[in-house]
């Protein structure tokens, strides 16, 4: 893919009255395999080409999008973007598109094996997944494995010329295991960049073991207890509200729980959160963000203290700061988004964490969960929970609800595990939180 179409689109938009223009073009090719009832049932080979054109004039912003790219369609889209711009009410907060012309860092995000692996080999990967589940007396209710590559170019009239390509692997599997008297459901979602990082068999075996442990649950007892959140449960409960709270646009607009809290304690002293857009093989890593600013690593919360909010260029200019390389793809701006969120490891093993709990629950994942990402209020139905009593796991429990507030829970973190797990764009160890309400 060359810059040709994009340069032409910029020229044409300027000729038609825009002061500034941004063009993003991307091509996606992938293969997706769908599993149902221990069978591969669908094999898809989708291919897309998309363009997003944003025209700016006198602080008015217009956007137009298209797919099925050819020159005629792109020029038609330029017309639409400029017409939208002319019709739009001005955005008084808009100052300028990003003025930057490199350099960009390098980061490992492309694996040619993902593209070159044959359809037959992919079918074999699915066969192995099915066999693994069957050997362990489980059934894949629904599963999906996707491998794809994306080529992307991002240009603007102010000097940005960024080009990248990346590969992506996603897998999501819901399975269940049954005994004579009970059936239990397990779910896993992982995202990778490199084929060799896909450990389907290992991940499935772990999930099957975990799911088997939740067969024949007893009714949970209500009360205030200690809860160990497994890495997936940390993501399910904490990451949505944290992403909203550390977003500079939300802070500027007063809808973040961390409003006015830079330098203040927002979590227990053991909790450190890093946003790293340059993590090699990171699921959300990239040399540049959605506006073409270089991505970087930053400590967002350090030992419980809120250090740095995430910013795009649009928001940074309003606050008199520099972008943190966290521009997202929503157009028009602002669009602030985390990259890879990493919870720093603590010192405890999972066994040590369990031993710390007199009365509590171990929750490997929180599937049936409602979290209000703005306020942090949540309730999570206990579907895959294990009871802990006097430092020991005492079997599965169900039919209750964990509830509380994520931002209050962050301050009640008692222990953080030393073993991190790479999910997709979240990397986290398990976390022990004291004093959480359970309704039976």
């Amino acid at each position: 893919m060359s810059f040709g179409y994009a340069r032409k689109a910029i020229r044409e938009a300027i000729n038609r009255g825009a002061d500034q223009v941004e063009v993003r073009i991307y091509l996606t090719r992938g293969r997706r395999m769908l599993l149902e009832n221990n069978r591969l049932t669908y094999f898809e080979a989708p291919e897309y080409s998309n363009a997003v054109i944003m025209a700016v004039g006198s602080k008015k912003i217009g956007v137009a999008r298209c797919n099925g790219l050819n020159e005629k369609i792109i020029l038609d889209t330029v017309d639409k973007a400029v017409a939208s711009m002319k019709a739009a009410a001005p955005d008084p907060d808009f100052e300028t598109l990003l003025q930057y012309s490199g350099p960009y860092p390098t980061v490992e995000v492309y694996d040619k094996r993902v593209v070159e692996v044959s359809s037959e080999e992919l079918v074999e990967i699915c066969r192995e997944a099915v066999e693994t589940v069957k050997e362990n007396h489980g059934t894949i209710a629904q599963g999906e494995i996707y491998l794809g590559e994306r080529e992307e170019i991002l240009l603007n009239s102010e000097g940005v010329e960024a080009k990248g390509r990346s590969t992506r692997i996603d897998f999501n599997i819901t399975l269940y295991v049954s005994s004579d008297t009970s059936s239990s459901e397990g779910f896993i979602r992982r995202g990778r960049r490199f084929l060799e990082d896909l450990n389907l068999r290992e991940d499935l075996e772990k999930l099957l073991e975990q799911t088997r442990l939740t067969l024949n649950p007893r009714k949970v007892e209500g009360g205030v207890v200690d809860v160990i959140l497994g890495p997936d449960a940390v993501e399910d409960l904490f990451l949505g509200p944290l992403s909203v709270a550390i977003n500079g646009d939300n802070i500027r607009k007063g809808r973040s729980a961390f409003l006015g809290k830079i330098g203040a304690e927002v979590a227990s002293a053991g909790f450190t959160l890093i946003d790293d857009g340059l993590l090699n093989r990171g699921y959300r890593s990239s040399p540049f963000d959605g506006e073409g600013y270089p991505c970087r690593r930053k400590i967002v919360i350090e030992k419980g203290v809120f250090k740095e909010m995430l910013l795009d260029n649009y928001t940074a200019l309003k606050l008199g700061r520099s972008s943190t390389g966290n521009a997202g793809l929503t157009r028009p701006p602002p669009s602030v988004t985390p990259t890879n969120l990493i919870v720093a490891p603590g010192t405890a093993t999972l066994e040590e964490m369990i031993r710390e709990v007199r009365k509590g629950i171990y929750l490997p994942r929180a599937t049936a969960t409602f979290v209000n990402p703005v306020t942090g209020a949540f309730s999570a139905e206990l579907r895959q929970a294990l009871k802990i009593e006097n430092g020991e796991i005492r079997g599965p429990v169900r039919w209750g609800m964990l509830s509380g507030n994520v931002f209050e829970m962050l301050k009640k973190i008692y222990l953080i595990g030393k073993k991190q797990e790479k999910l997709s764009d979240t990397i986290t160890p398990p976390i022990l939180v004291k004093g959480v309400a359970v309704e039976a």
């Binding site: 137009a64 999008r65 939208s84 739009a88 009410a89 955005d91 629904q142 028009p332 309730s379 507030n405």
Partner: protein, 465 residues
């Protein structure tokens, strides 16, 4: 323009497949949105895609492209045949599609007031005024948002049995949203309306009053109190009852979930599983409703299906593939997000039929319970039949009277118990538009959900702080 050489390709490649179909979609849309009194976006979109679906050795392969040039499309045909072959070698299946008539038809939803009867500037002025009305209610409102979208989709369907169907369907949708804040207490509220209509939708509702209400409800929720959770009687309004009908009952009544052992309704057809009060319908033929269509994505005409009649499970929703498994005809519920997406059994407009109670009569009998209106999201659990909904707004009922607002209420229960515990169904009725996702790619199709107010004798009420 529809490239007529596609029919030639269908004919040529049909011999290499047990079945082959092609879906082409064209779309044009306008999106406008505001945030805090300002225009947030003005965005025009056009899209096109073509997907080829091939059945070989009982295995489905799909390939797609958005470049409608003959060589690229032919490459997609070959790719679909190739991946179906690779899958079918290792995972051969038995797919017997139900026999259906191959229609050749063109259909269009005619709008009463076309989208160009109002220019973009006036649409923008309208949504900015709606945004202003939301925020004008109270200074504690910190976020206001309005999203407006309109557009047309033109979908073409062809298959190796000779079907050729073209349908043109418009869509219009307005979403109003607010967040109110007082110290660390933040509350949100929203309302939406939409349909397969033109601008006449804007004349059918008092949008400005709706906008003020969206602001007022978020502010009112700031004063909401907490109660101790537990089991108690619950009245769900039509929106929450619709979420139940869709998320729990509806997904479990999709025959692909039944075939894949993912439904708690498996083996229960003909059995009485609910109280006499409750009847649930999926109807894809409602004129103007957001989830309606003329033909599904396998070329089968849309239908009205009574899924649960006075508590008795009457049947499931089917695609041609699942109908083949059950030895019945397709119910016209095969739907896909776009031409490149796979087909699932999907709902259309799913609702509980109204009864004859007034809300006041339902409240009168309750000593201590909760009235829940609006849902912030529903959790589907077709396997376990678990139902969980986070309430947009909830009110405490005490000694037969509505008392004060409750914050952060979640209701949950097991579907089969809820169905049996329904003891009153209201005469009111509402249908709310939305998008339903299925599968991990979150393939979304437009649907509506709804019903009347429904009283359940006992549900678990959870309260977060």
């Amino acid at each position: 323009m529809f490239p007529d050489w596609v029919e030639g390709l269908v004919e040529r490649y049909s011999s290499e497949a047990e079945f082959l179909d092609v879906r082409i979609s064209y779309g044009r849309n306008l999106f406008l949105s505001t945030e805090n009194g300002k225009l947030r976006s003005l965005d025009q979109r056009r899209g096109v895609s073509l997907g080829v679906r091939v059945l070989r050795n009982g295995f489905w392969g799909i390939a797609s492209t958005d470049i409608l040039e003959k060589d690229r499309v032919e490459e997609a045909f070959r790719k679909a045949i190739s991946v179906a072959g690779a899958g079918g070698k290792v995972f051969p299946g038995k797919v017997n599609l139900s026999c259906e008539k191959a229609y050749r038809d063109r259909k269009r939803v005619h709008v009463k007031k076309s989208f160009d009867q109002m220019n973009i500037e006036d649409k923008q002025r309208m949504i900015l005024e709606l945004d202003r009305r939301i925020g004008g209610v109270d200074k504690r409102i910190i976020t206001t948002r309005v999203v407006y979208s309109e557009g047309f989709s033109r979908r073409i369907y062809l298959n190796s049995e000779g079907a050729f169907i073209e349908q043109v369907i418009p869509g219009i949708h307005v979403l109003l949203f607010s967040i109110a804040r007082e110290a660390m207490n933040m509350q949100m509220y929203y309302a939406s309306l939409g349909g397969e209509k033109g601008l006449e939708l804007l004349d059918e509702a008092d949008l400005y009053t709706m906008a003020e209400n969206v602001g007022r409800e978020a502010v009112n929720m700031l004063a909401a109190k907490s109660i101790k959770g537990g089991f108690m009687p619950v009245i769900m309004d039509g929106r929450v009852a619709g979420t139940f009908a869709h998320e729990v009952f509806g997904h479990a009544a999709e025959a692909d979930n039944v075939v894949n052992a993912k439904s708690f309704l498996s083996g229960l057809v003909g059995r009485k599983i609910g109280s006499d009060e409750i009847t649930i319908v999926d109807d894809a033929t409602i004129e103007g409703a957001y989830g309606s269509y003329f033909y599904d994505d396998e070329g089968v005409p849309s239908q009205r299906k009574v899924l649960l009649e006075k508590g008795v499970l009457k049947g499931y929703m089917h695609s041609r593939e699942t109908a083949g498994v059950f030895g019945v005809k397709s119910t016209g519920n095969a739907r896909a997000q776009g031409s490149s997406s796979r087909i699932y059994v999907r709902m259309s407009n799913t609702f509980i039929e109204p009864g004859d109670w007034t809300l006041e009569e339902m409240v009168e009998d309750i000593d201590y319970g909760v009235y829940v209106t609006g849902a912030m999201g529903g959790m589907e659990d077709p396997i376990g039949g678990g139902f969980q909904v986070s309430a947009l707004k909830a009110v405490l009922i005490e000694k037969g009277e509505m008392k004060h607002l409750l914050k952060a209420v979640t209701i949950s229960g097991k579907a089969l118990e809820i169905l049996k515990n329904v003891d009153a169904v209201g005469k009111d009725f509402t249908l709310e538009p939305g998008l339903c996702g299925k599968g991990y790619s979150g393939d979304r199709v437009p649907v509506t959900t709804g019903g009347p107010s429904v009283r359940v004798k006992k549900m678990l009420v959870g309260v977060s702080r």
